[in-house]
């Protein structure tokens, strides 16, 4: 955030936050197995902070529940995210944050795929390729200044 002197998108459109997931009776029933569903994955990533604005990815509509696909039995998760502007230089960073958040929050059995919503970014393919490459993600997290920014995105926002 400090590296950019000028915000790329100074006045983004702000979207409403969705309400907290309602607790149902089956959530409290010991016997019932709750499958991991789209909403649960969305809840994991919606509160990630944007690297540029004091807003969450949900408020910027970068992530949406409809763009989350999960298969609990097959252990796969797919997340599409939409940068606010097609030339957003933060796209890789946002993707990395989502990926790290999911890596930290999901059971190991899951295969996690994070990519840009088709047709919403200029260098879509390059970013997708970076995010899909395990080695590069691991290398990125070795870089302490990159890890610092990612951790800031993942820190719970104070009031």
């Amino acid at each position: 955030m400090s590296s950019v002197s000028q915000l790329e998108n100074a006045n983004p459109v702000i979207f409403q936050r969705s309400v907290e997931r309602l607790l149902t009776a089956s959530d409290e029933d010991e016997e019932i197995h709750d499958p991991i569903d789209n909403r649960e994955i969305f809840d994991l990533i919606r509160s990630i902070n944007d690297p540029e604005h004091p807003l969450s990815l949900e408020e910027l509509n970068v992530v949406e529940q409809v763009r989350v696909q999960v298969d609990d039995v097959g252990s796969t998760v797919g997340v599409e995210f939409t940068p606010t502007i097609p030339h957003c230089s933060m796209a890789t960073l946002i993707g990395l944050s989502i990926k790290v958040k999911l890596l930290r929050s999901l059971p190991q059995r899951f295969k996690i795929d994070v990519h840009i919503t088709p047709g919403t970014h200029a260098s879509e393919e390059a970013v997708n390729k970076q995010l899909a490459d395990k080695e590069r993600v691991a290398a990125a997290l070795e870089n302490s200044s990159l890890l610092e920014v990612v951790n800031q995105c993942l820190s719970p926002r104070g009031l």
């Binding site: 709750d34 991991i36 951790n151 820190s155 009031l159």
Partner: protein
């Protein structure tokens, strides 16, 4: 006398040459006791004071000053005069002497006998001879304290000094850096301003010298011994800066400048200072800065980054607008309020009409903030904004847009409500009434649930505007609400509708009596499902009845409505009893809850009292009595009876004490003598015995269970009312509670007994009663073959609770019995559980709502008197009994207030850690819930046992019980906030262990695991913590 002067000389000698500081105290004591006078002291000091060595002189003056600090009250005016002259002269002396001189002067400023003119001369010499900022911290504080003392006692004299005083002060504090001294300096500045000292031409200097600290940026050092907080400094400085309109021309530009800052706290401080300063200002002070202020405020709201700043900006705008509205206008000045409102409207209004509605909320909030400031402002805003909003709403087609606009309208109506004075004759919205109603009614008729909800709140706000809506409007609103209640099955909508109906019914009861209640009644009793109808349809009908019942409860706040609504509910109960209408037990329970809500909310008038005591309660008792005698009806079910208890108890505790006494009288004679004459139904048998356990029957549906209704009534009477035939009643209740086999019967009898004991007046009869009870209880419990041990134990717990609450001295006889039962093979687990009952509030008896005698902090008292017994018992108990003690402990501790937990727990820590390994899930859970608040501010003892704690918690995250898993994960989450160097060694281990619950089968567990694991990942990582 000679001895005294020798003593004095030796004291002086030892202090000055011997450097013994304690001698000053001795000397002061001598002066105080009259052993020697101040004059003698000065004479004795003579050689030192005239010594050529500056250090000796300093030591001499120091002794004198310290003595004066102790004995300034005993000086005469003459002495003071001489001393002041001396000290003033000494100010010119060598710098090492100055600290002592200032101490002495400070002592003298505290004198009540200060000769006239001396204050002025003291200050003149001070300002002339001393450069305050080159003194040390303590000496600077000394100067400020002198000023404060003199300002307290010599105000008139100091004012005579004129602007010189202000100038002197400005010079002394210029460059002050220490927060402790700043607090003093700000206090002086505040006094200068508030008490009307003449500032002459030094106003700007005074402002400069204080405002240079604004905004305060101060963080106290760790383990701050002085206890000065940033907030304290901010507040005192704000008092100075906002104290006078004379500062306006300097302060306002400064605030505008600071608002541009990037630092959040300085923005916030500026906004709050702005809001508080304008309360002193007039429009002419503000005039030239209005534009700048508005630009800054607008920017803060439009581009806000935090809610705190936004709300501070809005509050500042409200304050600013009300300042402008308050000012008296001259004939030649222009109306600054209307000029300002033009500015606001020009910048905000067009955003309300933009096609994408992007800035509609910030603009609306700004306008509403201005609107709520004053009557005139709201007139201007509504006149300009309302037509535009109405037109916008009508021209939009998207539901989301319409809803936004509707919400904006609602906020406007709401914001005007806060400022409308009672004497205003015409409502501000009367011009828009028709249009607003049309909008609201059209929105509520839409199919979109969000629109319906918003429309309901618009209707509520409109109805709260005095004299705005006409009868016909209300009628239409009621029709709409009624329609939605009957057809809409979205929970959020019906909640909003019920809420709206509740508010409207309080203001306009008539429409509800004539339309809504009859209609709901009709639909509730409409012949529901045949057996062959589909289950889904039965569900919808059930949901409809639920909505109708909650609506009935919500609208019944006015006595006249209650009169109409309660018969409907009673009819539900009686048809359920007769088996008509297909009411389920759940619906009956709901009807009871509905009655209870009414009895809680309704206004306590003669009329409602009669309604409840003469009509509802007798009918309820008659119905349940019949039901119990027949045994088949849903009204004989335990859950229905338990739902009826709060109805009776609330009406007896809350409504019309005289009538409640009458009800109690009737119920007691019904239960003791079988007197059924007051019951509306005369088909009942004449001699029924309700307080005798029926051993011969199968006890599934015992008549004696009705004792819970008696309990509800007699235990909730106000303390002033006597319970009729109390002794006989107690005897019968004791008998029933110790002999009945039916759990509801013996528990209710025990509770009723306890409730009466709790309120019984102190005295011999009470002591006798208690003695009798304890004997009976102990003899039953000690006989291990007795068949009624459980029953007796129930009585024991409830009576213990009754006595514990009122601090009765015999309490310990009962509670010790419970402690001893922890080792009992049969009752041990029950005894452990009973502590939870003892420590928690019970809903139906022995609560403050029932006028019970409840002393404050009885829990803490019980804990501090008994915790050692538990620890001893635990250590002495055989292994298989230990869990009982742990459970008892966790039951007690988890009910203590958090502050007490935090202070008391370190002592019990090893026991609690032991409790975590106890196999009982309940013990684990309550121990975890006690531990968690303690973990937020971990005591040192806990950190020493971190290894044990972590390993035990990590075991619990794979517990079989879901809530134990959740609670242990929460504790592990809290652990991550411990000092980093303490927990970092556990990071890898915890992260590995937390991977497993991420795949838990329950979502609630997974989400806790995610939060905890996320925090542990951030621990010690760059960018984390």
């Amino acid at each position: 006398m000679a001895a005294d002067s020798a003593l004095l000389l030796s004291l002086v000698e030892e202090f000055v040459s011997g450097q013994q500081d304690s001698k000053a105290k001795d000397t002061a004591k001598g002066v105080k006791d009259g052993q020697f006078t101040v004059l003698q002291l000065v004479e004795a000091l003579g050689p030192c004071l005239t010594n050529s060595q500056a250090h000796t002189r300093a030591r001499g003056v120091q002794l004198l000053s310290e003595v004066l600090l102790e004995c300034y009250e005993e000086l005469t005016e003459r002495e003071v005069e001489v001393l002041i002259a001396f000290y003033e002269n000494r100010l010119k002396d060598h710098y090492v002497i100055i600290p002592a001189v200032l101490q002495g002067l400070k002592a003298l400023t505290k004198c009540t006998v200060l000769p006239p003119g001396s204050a002025v001369s003291m200050l003149r010499s001070l300002f002339q001879d001393v450069h305050v900022q080159s003194l040390m911290l303590a000496e600077r504080a000394c100067v400020y304290n002198m000023l404060i003392n003199l300002m307290e006692s010599r105000e008139v004299e100091l004012k005579g000094l004129g602007a010189d005083f202000v100038f002197g002060f400005v010079q002394s504090m210029d460059g002050e850096r220490d927060p402790r001294n700043l607090l003093l300096a700000f206090q002086i500045a505040k006094n200068l301003i508030r008490r009307g000292y003449n500032q002459g031409k030094f106003t700007e200097e005074l402002f400069e010298v204080t405002s240079c600290y604004f905004p305060i940026d101060f963080s106290p050092p760790p383990n701050d011994p002085h206890g000065i907080t940033k907030e304290e400094l901010i507040q005192t400085l704000r008092d100075v800066l906002t104290g006078t309109p004379k500062f306006a021309e300097y302060l306002l530009p400064l605030l505008i400048e600071k608002l541009d800052s990037d630092v959040q706290s300085s923005k916030l401080d500026s906004l709050q200072t702005l809001a508080s300063c304008v309360s002193e200002y007039e429009h002419k002070d503000l005039a030239e800065f209005l534009e700048g202020l508005w630009t800054s405020l607008r920017r803060e709201v439009f581009q806000t980054s935090s809610e705190k700043i936004e709300s501070a900006a809005l509050a500042a705008l409200t304050a600013l607008t009300s300042c402008l509205s308050r000012s008296v206008l001259n004939s030649d000045s222009e109306d600054s309020l209307s000029a300002f409102m033009d500015l606001v409207l020009k910048d905000c209004k067009h955003h309300l009409c933009e096609p994408d509605l992007k800035l509609v909320w910030p603009s609306a909030k700004l306008l509403q903030a201005a609107c709520s400031a004053s009557n005139r402002a709201s007139h201007m805003v509504t006149a300009a904004v309302m037509p535009a909003l109405i037109e916008q709403y009508n021209s939009r087609t998207q539901c989301a847009h319409r809803r936004t606009l509707l919400e904006v309208v609602q906020r406007f109506v709401q914001s005007v409500k806060t400022c409308q004075s009672s004497d205003s004759d015409v409502n501000m919205f009367s011009d828009f009434r028709e249009a607003l109603c049309t909008i609201a009614f059209s929105a509520i008729s839409e199919s979109n649930s969000n629109l319906q909800i918003t429309a309901a709140s618009v209707l509520t706000s409109l109805a709260q505007q005095k004299g705005l809506l006409s009868e016909a409007d209300i009628q239409r609103a009621v029709d709409h609400l009624c329609r939605l209640l009957l057809i809409e099955d979205d929970d959020r909508v019906s909640l909003a509708v019920v809420e709206c109906a509740g508010t409207l019914a309080e203001l306009h009861p008539d429409a509800f009596i004539t339309t809504l209640i009859p209609k709901l009644k009709e639909h509730m009793f409409s012949e529901p499902m045949d057996q062959d109808r589909e289950a889904s349809e039965q569900n919808t009908h059930h949901a409809l009845r639920q909505r109708c019942l909650s609506a009935l409860a919500a609208v019944s706040t006015q006595p006249c409505v209650v009169k109409e609504s309660t018969p409907v509910i009673l009819q539900v109960l009686s048809s359920a009893h007769k088996g008509h209408g297909g009411f389920t037990v759940e619906e009956v329970v709901q009807a009871c809850c509905c009655l209870q809500r009414i009895s809680e909310k309704v206004k306590d008038t003669e009329e409602t009292g009669r309604c409840f005591h003469d009509d509802i309660i007798p009918r309820l008792v008659a119905l349940t009595l019949q039901a119990t005698l027949q045994g088949e009806s849903p009204l004989a079910q335990e859950e229905v009876l338990c739902a009826l208890v709060p109805v009776i108890s609330t009406s007896c505790s809350r409504l019309q004490p005289q009538l409640a006494a009458q009800t109690a009288d009737r119920l007691v004679s019904l239960f003791l003598d079988g007197d059924v004459s007051f019951l509306p139904d005369n088909s009942l048998p004449a001699n029924i015995c309700l307080l005798k356990p029926q051993k011969q029957h199968d006890d599934s549906c015992s008549q004696s269970q009705l004792v819970c209704l008696l309990m509800a009534c007699v235990c909730s009477l106000p303390k002033t009312l006597e319970v009729p035939q109390c002794d006989r009643l107690l005897l019968e209740l004791e008998g029933l509670s110790c002999t009945s086999l039916h759990p509801l019967s013996y528990t209710s009898a025990a509770k009723c007994f306890a409730g009466l004991v709790n309120k019984r007046a102190q005295g011999d009869s009470l002591s006798l009663l208690i003695e009798r009870t304890i004997q009976r209880v102990c003899s039953e419990l000690d006989c291990s073959s007795s068949s009624v041990r459980t029953q007796t134990f129930t009585l024991l717990i409830w009576v213990s609770k009754a006595l514990l609450l009122r601090y009765h001295p015999l309490t310990s006889a009962f509670t010790d019995k419970i402690f001893s039962l922890l080792d009992d093979a049969e009752l041990g687990p029950m005894a452990a559980d009973s502590f939870s009952l003892l420590m928690s509030d019970s809903a139906d008896v022995l609560s403050r709502g029932c006028h019970a005698d409840v002393r404050i902090m009885y829990r803490q008292r019980f804990f501090s008197e008994n915790s050692h017994k538990l620890v001893q018992g635990f250590n002495a108990a055989p292994q298989e009994k230990k869990p009982n003690y742990l459970k008892a402990l966790s039951n007690i501790v988890s009910k203590l207030p958090q502050q007490v937990q935090v202070t008391e727990l370190p002592a019990l820590l090893s026991l609690l850690l032991e409790a975590l390994t106890c196999p009982d899930g309940g013990v684990q859970l309550s121990t975890l819930s006690c531990l968690q608040p303690v973990l937020i501010n971990p005591p040192q003892t806990l950190i020493q046992q971190l290894e044990a704690l972590v390993s035990r918690l990590l075991v619990l995250i794979s517990s079989a019980q879901m809530n134990v898993r959740v609670a242990s994960l929460r504790c592990i989450h809290t652990l991550s906030y411990f000092p980093v160097h303490e927990v970092l060694p556990f990071r890898a281990r915890v992260l590995r262990a937390l991977a497993k619950p991420l795949d838990d089968k329950k979502r609630l567990v997974r989400s806790e695991a995610v939060i905890a694991r996320g925090e542990w990942f951030l621990l010690g990582s760059p960018g984390g913590r």
